[in-house]
Amino acid sequence: MESRAARIALGGWTLLVVLFLWIPLALIIVYAFNKANVQSWPIPGFTTHWFGVAWHSQEVRQALWLSVRAALTTTAAALVLGSMAAFAIARFKFFGREAVSFLFVLPIALPGIVTGMSLNSFFVFNHINLSFWTIVIGHSTFCIVLVYNNVIARLRRSSPSLIEASQDLGADGWQTFRFVIWPVLSTALVAGGLLAFALSFDEVVVTYFTAGAQNTLPLLIFGYIRLGQQLPIVNAIAFAMIVLTVIPVVLAQRLMRDTGVLRRGGTAALTAK
């Protein structure tokens, strides 16, 4: 029996959890517009001054550029490797298939510190200098999963006869890819890619072990906070990052909804006539 009291209690509890999750973020957002350069409550006034300071800082710009490049490269690698793996697992039966599938998904659950540490000792042991590429390799270990999971879910939900139906109706390999395979998979790829980008862009732990002397944006923030420097700038960057991360995640979720099929409004409307 679900009484009125129980429902109110549950509602209250849910509200508490939501507040617990969002109050710290809200605080950062408020502080990003803080007029004073010390964090005190209530803030003395609103300003967008710190955004300008952050934007013109050479250090911040370099870190941002490195983060964007690393995230883009990682996303590209994850798209290629993740979708190829998903195809292999979903469409072929081979010995050890379940094991391989498990090995693909494991890195997302593995603590970042373990991944980072082991990658670091692997690079050092093989005399590989830590660089942009070691960051990309580190991020790829867990970003491949995101694409893999999205694509395999889509493949399992779509009829395996789609490709045969296309061939049966007279399409050649390229037409089948262009008209059937790509449209069916594209949203899964876009969604996986967006998630991979978001995860790579704000990753700290693995990056810390694989970045060498360079700073990605999260590493820069980490350093600022540890030294207690530039806190107003950090708040401004944090606000920008929240926005930058929320957008791809929301987009990805929308793309994966229901059939996950992109509404191609133009063509659909035309043929409807």
Partner: protein, 347 residues
């Protein structure tokens, strides 16, 4: 096995050759033999059914005709032209898939137009032809919708429309009514048969439903364990089953052994008379199954074996027929209604 040189390009169909000819087809998956040496001719304009239980090789045979499966041995001819090595897209056949395989990202209209689009047919002509076939399958209003917005029966008809828009010489149907409920199935059986006669296209129809096969086919082939047990018209296969398997799969298996000869008799051909005395076999009613329009009686015979007898419930009530259990009866039939099975010449 050697196959004839492919002669598909430019060669005209030889007149009088069957729409589909399979010669010595064999297909194995590792140790599993899906088709074990199969010869079959399907005439032009025929409604031909491949009937059999699951795993009997009927679907594999269909896929060999479509070109999705390459046979290990044997050859496939369409209208006299060897297509054994031709890709599915090069064969003048189209398929209605069991799960329909409609493209989820396209509207119904786009799905139906697909075959014309990949062949480079212009937009205006595509639309005209698609509208025409959608009307033919009685779905003129749904062109703008997507497959997810349709009912199962509507999807089935869209799949049908998509497959006939190219006017193939042979249409392959893989258990197309399997996912529909009984009433809709019966409607679609009538509709498909009428459509086939109207279009004049050869239909090759796969099903495990004997009733479907009997009602729709011009001729049918009964499959079992990768082989064809019997080919013939529905009446032929039903009244004169050549093997025990066919007797059991198409209808009720009523097999008796008398004097070293095995024969079969259909349950509705048996007269059941209460009491003993006179000619025929005697026995006791062991079980009574009331199925609405008819009642099935299972009779243990005194000379060994059992027979199923079907009687229409013309004037009897369910209570009366159920009381028949345990009664002694006499069974009679006309000798021409029995059919000897597993004879050497039938094999």
């Amino acid at each position: 096995m050697a196959t004839q040189a492919p002669a598909r390009e430019g060669s005209e169909a030889a007149p009088g050759s069957p729409a589909v000819r399979l010669k010595g087809i064999r297909r194995t998956y590792g140790d599993v033999v899906a088709i074990a040496g199969l010869d079959l001719d399907i005439a032009e304009g025929e409604f031909f059914t491949l009937l059999g239980p699951s795993g009997s090789g009927k679907t594999t045979t269909l896929r060999v005709i479509a070109g999705f499966e390459r046979p290990d041995a044997g050859s496939v001819e369409l209208a006299g032209v060897d297509v054994t090595h031709a890709a599915p897209s090069e064969r003048d056949v189209n398929t209605v898939f069991q799960d329909y395989a409609l493209f989820p990202h396209m509207t119904v209209q786009e799905n139906v137009e697909y075959g014309l689009r990949v062949k480079g047919v212009g937009r205006r002509e595509r639309r005209m032809k698609a509208n025409e076939v959608l009307e033919r399958v009685r779905l003129p209003q749904v062109g703008a919708r997507r497959p997810v917005q349709l009912s199962g029966g509507q999807r089935q008809r869209v799949a049908l429309a998509r497959a006939i828009v190219n006017r193939p010489t042979v249409l392959l149907l893989d258990e197309p009514l399997g996912a529909l409920d009984l009433k809709l199935r019966q409607e679609m059986q009538v509709f498909l048969k009428a459509l086939q006669q109207d279009l004049g296209i050869t239909f090759v129809y796969v099903t495990h439903d004997q009733e479907e096969a009997l009602t729709m086919s011009d001729r049918m082939a009964v499959f079992n364990e990768g082989r064809i047990e019997q080919v013939g018209s529905p009446a032929d296969v039903y009244e004169h089953p050549e093997t025990e398997f066919v007797a059991g799969f198409v209808g009720v298996s009523n097999v008796l052994e008398r004097g070293g000869r095995r024969f079969t008799i259909r349950p509705e051909k048996i007269h059941m008379i209460e009491g003993i005395g006179g000619d025929g076999e005697t026995g006791v009613i062991r079980d009574v199954v009331y199925v609405g329009m008819v009642t099935r009686y299972i009779v243990d015979l005194h000379s060994g074996g059992e027979l199923v007898v079907v009687r229409q419930n013309l004037e009897t009530s369910s209570r009366e027929v159920l009381e028949a259990k345990g009664k002694r009866v006499r069974l009679e039939w006309r000798p021409e209604h029995t059919y000897e099975i597993d004879k050497e010449e039938n094999r």
